[in-house]
Amino acid sequence: MLHHQLAWFVAGPVMGLCVVACRALFNGRLGVTGGFSELVSKLSRGSFSFDWRGWFAIGLFASGTVFLVLWGGPDFHGYGWMTRTFHGSAQIWIPVLLLASGGLIGFGAKLAGGCTSGNGLSGTAALSPASLAATATFFATAIVVSFLIKAVI
């Protein structure tokens, strides 16, 4: 049903409207890390009574499966530069790198008060100086890291 990458001038505004909807409907700041945090915090205490952030994250997980059905399969195979670089027994590096990256992503986003969505999208759109600083920092860092990886592999 879906076959091509959605045009950026459609996809971007839809994402922006999601931010506006969270604010207009229940005065929330859309952020995926907030959703993860809510799920982790409640589940670690054996509770399932999530606030809106948890339900936003549940919708997000479900969206991947809905997309899978509409697209007729995942939209990519392998895992980027990692599965192109590591073969055979060297593939053990992939889980190591992904686990370590995940740790940095989770802890870093919590410390910074948001990830690409919470700070990058919602925070910058609200013209929050903290979010602008965070967004500039993580974009610059990720760009440098990508070029470093390209130089090494």
Binding site: G12, N27, G35, V66, Y79, L98, G102, L104, F138
Partner: protein, 156 residues
């Protein structure tokens, strides 16, 4: 209840758009971060622009939320060390894994096996942060402020 259904629906729309724009794919993220493709930047800028316009319109008058009885207010924080250090750590993880939390969730939904490792790492990072009982940094705002005492309504 209505708030939770609305939030799940927004998550669904947000995630399908994320997938449809190719953001679940590590190579799409990598192509953007290496300045080989402009799509992500145009997509991101148009998302921020739309959201900024919408929020500015919401702020123009004293409006109240549509689903709960609360005024639409939010604060603009000043940058602090934690925003920079946290984003440095986050940026390293993002640059290596070529996925941030949204795409990690949609990759899992798409059944991408490798993403389980990224998710486990992310959950561990969040859990470690929460265990250290550092102050809550992700403002959930005014929905059920009593449900989590650590989540003071001071933010927004």
């Amino acid at each position: 209840m209505r708030v939770r259904i609305a939030a799940a629906a927004i998550g669904l729309v947000f995630g399908i758009t994320l997938c449809w724009s190719g953001m679940s794919s590590p190579d799409v993220i990598r192509g953007a971060l290496l300045f080989e493709q402009s799509y992500l930047f145009l997509f991101f800028a148009s998302a921020v622009g739309t959201a900024a316009l919408g929020l500015a319109l919401l702020r123009r008058r004293d409006r109240r939320a549509l689903l709960i009885d609360t005024p639409l207010v939010w604060t603009r924080d000043s940058p602090a060390r934690r925003h920079i250090i946290g984003s440095l750590l986050f940026g390293i993880g993002w640059g290596v894994a070529e996925a941030c939390p949204g795409p990690i969730a949609t990759q899992i939904g798409q059944g991408i096996g490798w993403a389980v490792f990224t998710l486990v790492g992310t959950v561990a990072g969040v859990y470690l942060f929460l265990r250290r009982s550092l102050p809550e940094t992700e403002p959930a705002l005014d929905v059920e402020p009593s449900a989590n005492p650590a989540m003071s309504p001071a933010v927004g």
